[in-house]
């Protein structure tokens, strides 16, 4: 019962194919002249031949040309002949007025085919070799026609009628202006007169408008239908002008068409040009790709109406429901997504892969693959931020796939869980991964969630390797790298002999995993395109199907353009599928994140740049936005806000429609940072609140965002000198991070606590916090962060009195290489000031001996902090400078420094007075 499939690839005869047959007849007339009648030269003749070859090879394409489009194409290749050709074509088509005409036409066609022994032919004779491409095409057409029932012939006839009529409504704008070119046109005009001339006048105006519209609105049409579909097409491809009817394009409505067709969008007039199953499947696949790539910027309603139409046309093609699911998923329509997902799997039972095989006996022994439904449902809940449901469903999926011994699905499910667990922080496993959770149950439930995750990751990786699921292996390596990045490995066994283990993360492991995950590209670069039958539908279902990316990317030129060459030759495609590229790309994002954590700013920037430049085509817009965000953040740290905001503007234009995205987040972060520095505390608080509401209210979801928001909240309070409140917020944040095992964030919070104590004057209390933060940094290899913690520690010692200056200055000098090499403006400024302070508070130090030792860092600090507009610290630097100058008796310079100090102090105290350029430029979301 699960779907009644027609044999794929059925070749049906359509009006377009009839036109091609007519052209073939012109190309190879039964007469025996080397250059037949209408052609003036051999090259002209050959051009038509090549054109027909290209058309024949694309005859299994998803969308067929309409008559007017065909005529436009003909014009481009035909040169002067064009009028004769198109005229002949329309004349022949309109002369087919009864079934008998069709019969005669097709029996005439037989004449242009050579016999089986046509290997010996005269040079002069033009006879189609029955085994050539064109000959095969002709034979297929003949066969398809002969198979038609009488009703079928009648339908073909009426379809030809519609085909001609539609074209007539759009031909005149092209044809009439040139009507005095050749004598043939007189005939053409006469012919038109015989038809609906009164319609032309009306039509002309509207059509011209439409044509203009079309020229501007055409979008580039990337056709990456599956390889199998284009098995024929090797190097010649019909130019994009032929693929006119892309779905996004508003359809030209002709008054001849049945009004109910207006809803059709870009598909077909009903029943006229039926496509084969493969064609539609390929189309759907391509659209699915587009949805995943563009996310919410994909046109929802337009596509939905196309899908509805398709569903009406092909009720047994259940894939349509899946596309509807994807469409609603990416537009955050939960009920519709749920409904469509269930509907799809109810109908298809999970067995309708791309390489589906018709079930031999309807459903008797095949039990369907409903575990895939569970997997998808789990992913959907994950997408909508329902972690508990997602885990429940995925657990069920694990069980069901074990029951049905569906190893592939099990592997995918496990890695889905692996991806889910780190995203969704779960404080304890009780009630979620209960004893029934089989993959973990064997080890016992005494393990922490991290350990369970680790075990899961290992198993899932092993499983994927043994099943030879290359993409899965790569993505598991990635997940492993992410895990290693933030987790300290502990011995799994709580008893028995323990190997001595350093409680640290291992950057080498991360690198190893990342390298392993990138190996996939070489796997795919070497093997040619063989359809791998991973055939599993996760949300990555489409990604995991091999398709020749980039092989059929057409540069779109509008049909009226002066492209004399109607077809161009595409280069041989690279055989690396888009999904693989995407995986490799995301490994670069992980690399960037890793280097960010480890504290190498240039390497992080480099990796983000690589991603943004090399993987733009294959990545989803969300990932790309992330890479952009990283780059812009880098700018803000190292070049100040002005440049960062300029870059942000560009990024915002690029990701226009992505509302709740990384870019918005980034904007809020930058603005908050900036208002903190400039002392706009009210604005800062407001921004911080806005950041907070972006997070989902469900516990355990969007943890990153939540920690970020409360961290910023604490910092705002600190800047407002509300030490108690700031400490309280930081404290509760620490508890939360501890609960959800966010160790890296813990280091951050501890440092903030140290800072709070430092600012409130309790340096002694601050020191333990700073030390704790340091040890966290050490075990997670957070080098830059460690340097910043060291700096805070030094500052703390420094504020304890002059006996500790030496200790402080050793600490600072120890951290300097890291800070100067990789630190941002703020960190460097702070370090310089701290260094100067060290010297100044050292009783054995005398300014007069070598004033530049102090002045130089202060100058550096003041420059950098001015770029950053960090008024408070800049004022401090100038203050120190003024004092030093005063001591040295350099009065002029002292006045200058004092003036700068005053300026910054005033700006800090009266934030409103300052003209606020950026807030004006960038209005708050």
């Amino acid at each position: 019962m699960a779907g009644i499939f027609k044999p794929p690839g059925a070749f049906t005869i359509t009006p377009h194919k009839v036109s091609m047959c007519i052209l073939l007849q012109i190309y190879a007339p039964p007469a025996q002249i080397s250059v037949p009648f209408p052609f003036s030269s051999v090259s002209q003749h050959n051009r038509l031949g090549l054109f027909l070859l290209a058309l024949a090879k694309s005859c299994d394409d998803i969308l067929e040309l309409k008559l007017d489009e065909l005529i436009t194409q003909l014009r481009e290749i035909g040169g002067l002949l064009n009028h004769w050709l198109s005229d002949h074509l329309t004349r022949r088509l309109s002369s087919l007025s009864s079934p008998d005409d069709l019969f005669n036409f097709f029996s005439d066609l037989r004449g242009i085919l050579g016999g089986p022994d046509s290997s010996v032919v005269d040079d002069d004779q033009i006879i189609l070799d029955p085994n050539s491409n064109l000959g095969m095409f002709l034979r297929r057409c003949l066969l398809a026609f002969n198979l038609l029932s009488f009703e079928g012939v009648c339908h073909l006839l009426s379809n030809i009628g519609t085909y001609c009529k539609e074209a007539l409504s759009s031909c005149p704008p092209y044809e009439l202006p040139r009507s005095d070119d050749s004598a043939n046109d007189l005939e053409a005009l006469l012919e038109y007169e015989n038809m609906d001339l009164e319609n032309f006048v009306f039509e002309k105006v509207s059509e011209e408008i439409e044509a203009k519209k079309r020229a501007t609105e055409r979008v580039s049409f990337h056709n990456h239908a599956p390889r199998a579909l284009f098995g024929l097409v090797e190097d010649i491809e019909v130019s994009a002008g032929m693929k006119l009817t892309h779905s996004d394009k508003p359809r030209e409505v002709s008054p001849f068409v049945h009004p109910s067709n207006d809803t059709l969008g870009g598909v077909d007039p009903p029943g006229v040009f039926l496509r084969t199953n493969w064609q539609i499947q390929g189309y759907l696949l391509e659209q699915a790709d587009a949805i995943e790539k563009h996310g919410s910027s994909f046109p929802l309603n337009a596509f939905e109406s196309i899908l509805k139409q398709l569903q009406k046309l092909a009720p047994e093609l259940h894939r349509v429901h899946f596309l509807r699911y994807l469409n609603s998923l990416y537009h955050d329509d939960y009920p519709a997504a749920l409904e469509n997902l269930h509907r799809y799997f109810d109908y298809s039972a999970g067995t309708e892969g791309f390489e589906f095989a018709p079930p031999s006996s309807p459903g008797c022994n095949s039990f369907g693959r409903y575990e895939i439904a569970l997997l998808c449902l789990g992913m959907m809940h994950f997408h909508f931020g329902h972690p508990k449901q997602a885990l429940k469903v995925l657990t069920e999926a694990v069980r069901v796939s074990q029951q049905h011994s569906d190893d592939t699905c099990l592997a995918y499910t496990l890695s889905a869980i692996c991806n889910l667990l780190p995203e969704v922080r779960i404080s304890s496993t009780t009630g979620i991964l209960g004893s029934s959770f089989s993959p973990v149950a064997s080890i016992g439930t005494s393990l922490s969630i991290q350990q369970q995750l680790f075990v899961l990751l290992r198993r899932s990786l092993k499983r994927a390797e043994s099943l030879k699921l290359k993409r899965l292996v790569a993505s598991n390596h990635l997940a492993m790298a992410k895990f290693d990045l933030t987790h300290v490995q502990r011995p799994l066994l709580s008893f028995g002999p323990k190997a001595s283990m350093k409680l640290r993360t291992w950057p080498a492991n991360v690198c190893k995993e990342l390298r392993c995950s990138s190996h996939i590209i070489s796997d795919f670069a070497m093997e040619s395109s063989i359809m791998t039958t991973d055939g599993t539908f996760s949300t990555a279902w489409v990604k995991n199907l091999q398709k020749p990316m980039g092989s059929l990317i057409f540069s779109q030129d509008n049909g009226t353009g002066s492209n004399s060459d109607a077809f161009h030759f595409c280069a041989q495609p690279s055989s690396i599928p888009g999904s693989v590229l995407q995986l490799v790309g995301s490994s670069y994002v992980v690399r960037a994140t890793a280097w960010e954590l480890y504290g190498s700013a240039p390497l992080a920037r480099l990796n983000a740049l690589v991603y943004a430049t090399c993987f733009t085509d294959s990545s989803s817009s969300a990932d790309l936005a992330l890479a952009y965000a990283k780059l812009i953040q880098h700018l803000a740290f190292f070049k100040g806000y002005r440049e960062a905001f300029a870059a942000l503007k560009i990024a915002e234009e690029k990701f226009l429609s992505v509302s709740k995205s990384r870019i918005l987040l980034l904007k809020l972060q930058l603005l908050h940072e900036r208002s903190l520095h400039r002392g706009h505390l009210k604005v800062a608080q407001q921004l911080c609140d806005e950041l907070g509401v972006l997070a989902s209210s469900v516990t355990g979801v969007d943890m990153e965002l939540k920690t970020e928001a409360s961290l910023r909240h604490a910092r705002t309070l600190l800047a407002a000198n509300q030490f108690n409140q700031a400490a309280a917020v930081a404290h509760s944040l620490f508890c939360m991070c501890y609960k959800f095992n966010l160790q890296v964030e813990n280091a951050n919070v501890l440092l903030l606590l140290a800072e709070i104590h430092k600012r409130s004057g309790n340096a002694v209390l601050g020191i333990p916090y700073a030390l704790a933060s340091l040890s966290f940094c050490q075990s997670f290899n957070l080098d830059l962060f460690k340097a910043s913690a060291t700096l805070t520690l030094a500052e703390l010692w420094l504020s304890l009195g002059s006996n500790h200056t030496e200790r402080a200055s050793t600490l600072i000098h120890g951290a300097f290489p890291m800070i100067l090499g990789h630190g941002g403006l703020e960190l460097r400024g702070r370090a310089y000031i701290a260094e100067a302070k060290c010297y100044l508070s050292d009783p054995s130090f005398s300014v007069f001996e070598d004033p530049e030792v102090v002045l130089d860092p202060l100058r550096q600090a003041s420059e950098e902090l001015q770029v950053l507009e960090y008024h408070e610290l800049a004022a401090e630097a100038f203050y120190l400078m003024a004092i030093v100058f005063d001591k040295l008796g350099r009065l002029e310079e002292r006045e200058e420094a004092a003036a700068s100090f005053k300026k910054h102090m005033i700006a800090l105290e009266n934030p409103q007075d300052e003209e606020d350029t950026f807030i004006d430029i960038i209005s708050l979301g």
Partner: protein
């Protein structure tokens, strides 16, 4: 409601007018109601035929005197349109010829005969014939055009021209209620439901006895809000309509009350009896349903309509002999009715021969692809045969035909639960309890789902059991495990 006498007269004239316009099913319905009116025992003895003849003379007189419709006090009298063709012998002759063609199902021929006629009646018949010709062609095309992707969307090609013509007629006020009915039908097919509703309301307000128009209107009222927003004249036919519409909206007790009220005047109407049975069936009063159907069959032994419901009841009560007798009877009456196939399928299912049963359900579906209960029942059979994917498919088709069919949703839930996917099944159970919150079995099934060892959500299970108990769980299944779980 008007007096029974006036009802009777209205119906009599309506039957003639309807069958004169070839609206046979409407006239059949009207005739059933006419016979269903309780006869005055005194008059009943007097000759039936003479009475009818008398009424026609009354009708004629009535028509000439007062034509305006006066919907006062719940009774509305609507003029009988004067057949203009009566005057012109030639026109009327054409009409007769067209009607004969129509009766022989030669629709295009009928339309062609009437091509130049301008009388309202002729125009209606021509349009109606064209519409039916288009429908016939559509069905043929549906088979012819079966492309590689399954069924093609064949359309009735007459709809456009019909819509154009009828809308101009309506604009010019040249349309009679029958024309309006046809216009509404065309609009409905074309998907402009709001206009269709307005037009149909106009039609039934000016000519309330056309049951076809009412039932089209009923199918357009999918929510209680739309039903309440209709601006209908207060005619006794409206009660029939409302009763049916309420039933469709699953407000069974309200609908039952309406039907019982109608039964006061139409006490012998088989239609009302069957509808009451339907309502009772939905309320799960199987004993009463059985009694009603026994009586129905006594009065109307060759009835096939609604008998599948009777067979469901017999199935539920496991009455082997009665079910086999019923199956035999309908088989002899008309074996190519979906209802008959369903009854036979039920019989085989009861006998435990599920393959045969599926075969008969399939046959029913071949006769009518949108026959809802056959899909659901076939799903049940597949569940019995442990072929869950097929069951899921069948149930899914049922809910896609009617998303309010809680049985099919429930079946889907059951099928998934059988496959060990309780969490997935919950979605379907939720759907079914949403549609039928008063059915304790659904709540209990959902509770079972929550209770399974794999899901283990006892709090939710308890909530479900409590709901089940609240809706008067007759079999008291809910009571015992509730205690256990609590």
């Amino acid at each position: 409601m008007g007096t029974t006498e006036s009802c009777r007269n209205e119906l009599r004239s309506a039957i003639r007018q309807l069958s004169d316009r070839c609206l046979y099913s409407a006239s059949k319905w009207a005739a059933e109601q006419l016979v269903g009116i309780e006869q005055d025992p005194a008059k009943f003895t007097s000759s039936h035929t003479r009475f009818q003849r008398g009424s026609s003379s009354i009708r004629r007189r009535f028509r000439t005197n007062e034509i305006t419709s006066t919907p006062t006090a719940g009774v509305s009298y609507v003029s009988t349109p004067v057949p203009e063709e009566d005057n012109d012998a030639v026109d009327s002759d054409f009409y007769l010829l067209a009607k004969s063609y129509f009766d022989c199902r030669e629709y295009r021929r009928a339309a062609h005969v009437l091509r130049d006629q301008t009388g309202k009646k002729a125009v209606f018949l021509r349009c109606y014939a064209l519409y039916l010709a288009g429908e016939k062609r559509k069905e043929e095309e549906m088979i012819e055009l079966e492309g590689p992707l399954g069924k093609s969307d064949a359309v009735n090609r007459e709809l456009v021209s019909l819509e154009r013509e009828l809308s101009t007629l309506r604009k010019n006020g040249m349309i009679d209620p029958f024309g309006l009915y046809l216009y509404g039908l065309v609009l409905k097919e074309k998907g402009s439901e709001n206009l269709a509703r307005t037009v149909l309301v106009e039609s039934v307000n000016s000519y309330p006895w056309n049951w076809n128009a009412w039932s089209e209107l009923q199918s357009l009222c999918t929510t209680i809000e739309t039903l309440n927003s209709l601006n209908l004249n207060n005619h006794w036919m409206k009660d029939f309509f409302l009763a049916g519409a309420l039933q469709e909206l699953r407000m069974h007790s309200e609908s039952l009350a309406k039907y019982e009220y109608l039964q006061g005047s139409f006490s012998f109407s088989n239609y009302i009896q069957a509808q009451i049975a339907k309502a009772q069936y939905s309320l799960r009063e199987f004993e009463q349903v059985e009694v009603i159907f026994e009586e129905l069959l006594r009065n109307d032994p060759y009835r096939v309509e609604d008998m599948d419901m009777y067979s469901n009841v017999l199935y539920a009560k496991e009455c082997f002999p009665a079910l086999s007798y019923l199956a035999h009877r309908v088989f002899l009456t008309d074996k190519y009715r979906p209802e008959s196939c369903c009854i036979i399928g039920n019989y085989y299912s009861l006998k435990g021969q599920h393959e045969k049963s599926v075969m008969y359900f399939r046959r029913a579906l071949k006769l009518n692809k949108n026959y809802l209960s056959a899909w659901t029942l076939m799903g049940h059979e597949y569940v019995e045969m442990k072929n869950t994917p097929a069951a899921v498919d069948a149930y899914r088709r049922a809910v896609d035909i009617n998303p309010c069919d809680y049985r099919a949703w429930y079946g889907l839930g059951q099928a998934y639960e059988m496959m060990g996917m309780p969490f997935y099944a919950l979605h379907y159970f939720r759907k079914s309890v949403f549609l039928q919150p008063g059915d304790s079995r659904l709540w209990i099934a959902m509770a079972h789902c929550y209770e399974t060892e794999r899901l283990h959500m006892p709090e939710e299970a308890i909530k479900c059991y409590l709901r089940a108990e609240n809706c008067n769980d007759r079999e008291a299944i809910a009571s015992s495990p509730t205690c256990k779980a609590a």
